[in-house]
Symmetry: D3
Subunit: 66 residues, 6 copies
């Protein structure tokens, strides 16, 4: 019955990569806590880099400096 929410910046994660995240997060709950995968829910949020900040600045700005 676990619920996992994964927030990442919107950077072109492919449908296959999202499948791998969902499969892997579900398996992690099975392996570590013996949870039932049938009722394990994973939701991925992809967030624009203008809307994600770290160190007080947006990811958009951080990347423009590199």
């Amino acid at each position: 019955m676990p619920f996992v929410n994964i927030k990442i910046t919107k950077d072109g994660a492919t449908a296959n990569q999202k499948k791998e995240l969902i499969k892997g997060a579900t398996q992690l709950l099975v392996d570590v806590l013996g949870k039932n995968p049938a009722t394990t829910v994973v939701v991925i949020d992809e967030v624009e880099t203008d809307n994600w900040g770290i160190g007080g600045e947006t990811v958009t700005d951080r990347r423009s400096k590199n």
Copy 2:
């Protein structure tokens, strides 16, 4: 003052259905706990089926099998 977040897959919920969800969730808090509807907030997140997993696979994949 309650805050309710409803996450559903993005499947063409209409504006009217979303109104019903907001009205119903607010009324539920009034009926069960006597909360003030004026300060009850409901936020609906509609999530792509590629980004929602259950049973270790995406909703996109589950549906393609049926």
Copy 3:
């Protein structure tokens, strides 16, 4: 497959009231969107009044004024 998160202040909601919230929120998703109740998850967070703010002040402070 919906996921509902209900945040309320920690004010002595009883186990029965929490049952009613869970039952009602699940039924709402069934009634409005035809969702499957078996995979509808509801999580209730009860938050200390020191940790909940509205209008720029804590609920603790607002209540002490009334």
Copy 4:
């Protein structure tokens, strides 16, 4: 290491306004709790007015009445 999530209605906040939110929220954690800004994360969610309810109705409807 704090994590801040700011949910607002989608109303044309500019990139600069989002920078100000991220900068300000990060600084708040530094000023009040002495947190390390380098690992402070801020995520802004912009929510359609059809998906945000207060007082039992959508923001879309509330605004159409004014």
Copy 5:
């Protein structure tokens, strides 16, 4: 920079199991998306079984029937 939130029922997960969840979720983001583990945050919420519902009833009630 990803942020992962894992919600589980409060059932006596040990400190070691929580370490495994944090390590595993971080590694998943590294393996699938090449994310930087240094800025990957994982937060685990443990929720009372009275506060977690599935199928319209609390986990407390579901378990009492088995």
Copy 6:
């Protein structure tokens, strides 16, 4: 109408510090976006250091090394 959720490790933040966070986050939304403070909600979650991970390890473990 904004909703702000601040997650911090449980480290003895005082009631006064939490008031400052709530006041400051609300003012930030007023200053940057002209939001109405009366309907701005702030919720603070304090998370045990065993339940918060960064860099693949718990905050408990990171601190024990310093």
